[in-house]
């Protein structure tokens, strides 16, 4: 998934081979992760696609089914992965993820702690940010979920950057071995204030913390707890408004019909009073916000160790 893997990184010379993870793109809201396996087929509403037809094509290719339907095969990125991963829990989306990475000041080489792992949506982007020399230690108290996350990171080729532990961080705090070593910590827990004293222990001086909470009451309690050891405590909400773009045709009028400057398609139309009206159609590309949007994900509270 990352350019770190020099053999697998995208390039004009690279083509899809057996065992590759590809993102099958039907349309922007319909994608699926598939591991290419020579004898397998993909079946969807467009027909049956043979994996063997895919092998040897470049990423970004359009491939056809037995019925002539088509999909695109894309190289995976953390953004695409977030759209296709199996939701074992509520996940973080791209606007929050991007903001968290930037605001926590995560750069290559950082040591980052995370709890809980959940479906690993954020973890994937954390791994990208700390690569090639840093590491993400992520914890979930749910054994099976941690296992599924581990399998996912294996599949996306990130397992060398991520360690998944099974641990109740709210109850036990982060493991002592990370004391004073963490550059940044991310919490997505129901009662984050219980874990905050442990976070203060783990962070380096001036290290950064982010806590994600859907409810304002959680934020309120977290911020009270943060007062003791943290400074620069700030809470944000970040959302995305998306736009749809269309070419629309619009009619215009020229009252007396003598306007000969119009070079666009015209129609002469006789009005009831006998005079002529020239109506013209012009088309232009226009954008407007999409009618529906995610109205709330969660509050992001950031703080810095004093």
């Amino acid at each position: 998934m990352l350019a770190n893997d020099l053999e697998k990184r995208i390039s004009f010379k690279r083509s899809i081979s057996n065992g590759d993870l590809v993102i099958v793109y039907e349309k922007h809201d319909s994608m699926k992760a598939v591991t290419v396996s020579e004898g397998s087929v993909l079946q969807n509403r467009f027909g049956v696609f043979k994996h063997s037809d895919w092998i040897g094509n470049p990423f970004g290719s359009k491939v056809f089914s037995n019925k002539g339907g088509f999909v695109y095969l894309l190289a995976p990125t953390p953004e695409l992965w977030t759209l296709v991963l199996s939701h074992r829990t509520q996940i973080l989306y791209i606007a929050d993820i991007s903001f968290v990475i930037m605001y926590l000041e995560i750069v290559p080489g950082c040591l980052v702690l995370e709890s809980g792992t959940g479906s690993g949506s954020l973890t994937t982007s954390l791994a990208r940010a700390v690569a090639p020399t840093g590491h993400v230690y992520t914890f979930d108290f749910h054994d099976q979920r941690a296992g599924s996350a581990r399998d996912d990171f294996e599949r996306t080729g990130l397992s060398s950057l991520i360690s998944v532990g099974v641990r109740d961080i709210q109850g036990e705090g982060f493991p002592d071995e990370f004391t004073g070593l963490a550059d940044s910590v991310f919490l997505d827990l129901p009662q984050p204030w219980l874990a905050i004293p442990s976070v203060a222990k783990m962070l380096k001086q001036d290290g950064t913390l982010c806590s994600f909470s859907p409810c304002i009451e959680q934020v309120q309690r977290s911020c009270e707890t943060l007062q003791t050891c943290f400074t620069d405590i700030r809470t944000f909400e970040v959302l995305l408004r998306t736009y749809e773009v269309r070419e629309e045709k619009m009619g215009t009028f020229h009252g007396d019909g003598n306007d000969s400057n119009v070079s666009l398609p015209c129609k002469r139309r006789q009005c009831s009073d006998g005079s002529y009206v020239v109506s013209t159609t012009i088309s232009s590309v226009m954008a407007r916000p999409c009618g529906e949007a995610r109205g709330h994900t969660g509050y992001l509270t950031f703080a810095r160790l004093k």
Binding site: L2, I10, S11, A95, P108, Q205, V238, T301, L305
Partner: protein, 460 residues
């Protein structure tokens, strides 16, 4: 927590340069004066000075201190100086203040306040006299409170406000921040948004994510926002891969902001420049090589000029330059050895032919454009073929229409899929006991971005 008062000098190793927790001589810092009232970028040296009010403070005490340290402006027998204050002592009283406030918040209000300017019995002369006797800023504030007839009747929230207002005037504090993509973008957005094309920090973060910027990638950028994109990408590359800062015509666009980051040589080497024409040309003709040589001269010349102008900006009292607008008006460090000043100028060498060839052969791994003054579609049409198949791209604009047109054309030409125009929305909250609400002031606009994935042109 861990004490941050140690002030031994530590020479920057390459690791410290990026993730360093302490400053060194020649280090670039962001100084936040009185909680964001003023934001100043400065380079630390024994001679560097910061002007607050009408006094000059040496930045020497900041060398070797931890980022995140707070300094108090004081006056001593040798004149004004910045003294390192312990973080706990500063914040400790505040929280107690607020907790107390909870108790008596209901019992007081402003019904008895009359604005007749007689509440304060200390005069300006009294304060000046205290100063001459060596009173510290905090002592003056306490005296002002003791001599205020109305202070006791205020609610504790307005007492806190009063204290803060007086602290800003009589005991200014300076917070020392690490200049990283986040803090640099926020500082410019707050003070000089036009210089970075109104690119807000959440929008910048989206650009980096959507373009899948990660170590070892080769990122093509068109950066007409002062080098902010180039610097932010280089920060994420961490000394691997390349960021190719490309430009139309013969002279590269300004990259001054890159010099504010404390980039190691390893990272600087990964920032290259190339004219777009060189990236597009199929084969090198002898003519072209000749032309390239000329361009190269022009470029290196302009690089030198830029290096010089940056050092000027950082050390002079001029107020017209990019960085000085934000900060260097206050620093006066004319004695910095020349070689230290030039050190940061290494970023942005002309891309060598063999690296350009390798980009042509393999394709760039992603593209970021922030070029408000260029026709977006014309740029994208030319640059997209330089990307590897299935490479993501992210285009910034402060206006919606150029992106809408570009998106429409990309769809018609079947050059990309997964196209989306989005506008991030960012709201900050005040979180206090019984007083939590969205902040009264917010940025209503942080720009638009168009994102998508390049598809194979040969498929049909």
């Amino acid at each position: 927590m861990s004490s941050s008062t140690t002030s031994e000098n530590n020479a920057p190793s390459s690791n410290d340069m990026m993730n360093g927790r302490k400053t060194w001589e020649g280090c670039s810092v962001l100084l936040d004066i009185n909680d964001g009232d003023r934001l100043v970028f400065a380079r630390l040296s024994n001679a560097a000075k910061l002007k607050i009010g009408n006094k000059n403070y040496s930045l020497q005490p900041l060398i070797g201190c931890a980022f995140g340290s707070v300094f108090q402006a004081e006056s001593g027998p040798q004149g004004p100086f910045l003294s390192h204050s312990l973080p706990s002592s500063l914040q400790g009283d505040n929280t107690e203040e607020i907790k107390d406030g909870q108790v008596n918040v209901v019992s007081r209000d402003n019904r008895a306040l009359i604005d007749n300017n007689t509440a304060q019995s200390l005069t300006g002369d009294d304060i000046e006299a205290m100063r001459r006797q060596g009173a510290r800023g905090n002592e003056i504030i306490e005296a002002l409170i003791a001599n205020s007839a109305t202070f006791e009747t205020k609610t504790s929230f307005s007492q806190e406000k009063y204290r803060l207002k007086k602290q800003k005037k009589y005991a200014p504090k300076v917070l020392m921040r690490r200049p990283v993509a986040r803090s640099i973008c926020e500082a410019y957005f707050k003070k000089y948004p036009t210089k970075i094309g109104f690119l807000r920090v959440d929008t910048l973060s989206l650009l980096l994510s959507m373009a899948n910027v990660s170590s070892n990638s080769d990122v093509l950028v068109v950066d007409m926002v002062g080098g902010l994109i180039t610097g932010a990408v280089a920060e994420r590359l961490g000394g691997t891969g390349f960021v190719c800062n490309s430009y139309l015509g013969k002279s590269p666009y300004s990259m001054d902001i890159v010099r504010i980051f404390n980039f190691s040589d390893e990272i600087c080497k990964r920032i290259l420049r190339s004219p777009i024409s060189n990236l597009l040309s199929q084969k090198e003709s002898p003519e072209q090589i000749l032309q390239d040589a000329n361009v190269c001269n022009v470029e290196s010349q302009s690089n030198d000029q830029m290096g010089a102008s940056v050092s000027m900006e950082e050390i002079c009292n001029s107020s017209e330059n990019v960085i000085s607008d934000l900060g260097a008006e206050n620093t006066d460090n004319t004695n910095i050895p020349a070689k230290r000043v030039c050190k940061a100028a290494k970023a942005g060498e002309k891309a060598p032919q063999e690296i350009i060839d390798s980009w042509k052969e393999n394709g760039f791994s992603s593209l970021i454009i922030a070029a408000p003054e260029m026709d977006t579609w014309a740029l994208v049409k030319d640059l997209l073929p330089l990307l590897s198949n299935s490479a993501p791209f992210a285009i910034y604009h402060q206006y919606l229409q150029p992106l809408a047109t570009c998106m429409h054309n990309l769809q018609l030409e079947k050059m990309a899929i997964g196209l989306q125009i989005s506008e991030p929305w960012l709201r900050e909250y005040q979180v206090l006991p019984s007083r939590t609400h969205p902040c009264m002031q917010m940025s209503a606009f942080g720009g638009y971005i168009l994102t998508g994935t390049k598809i194979c042109s040969s498929s049909s």
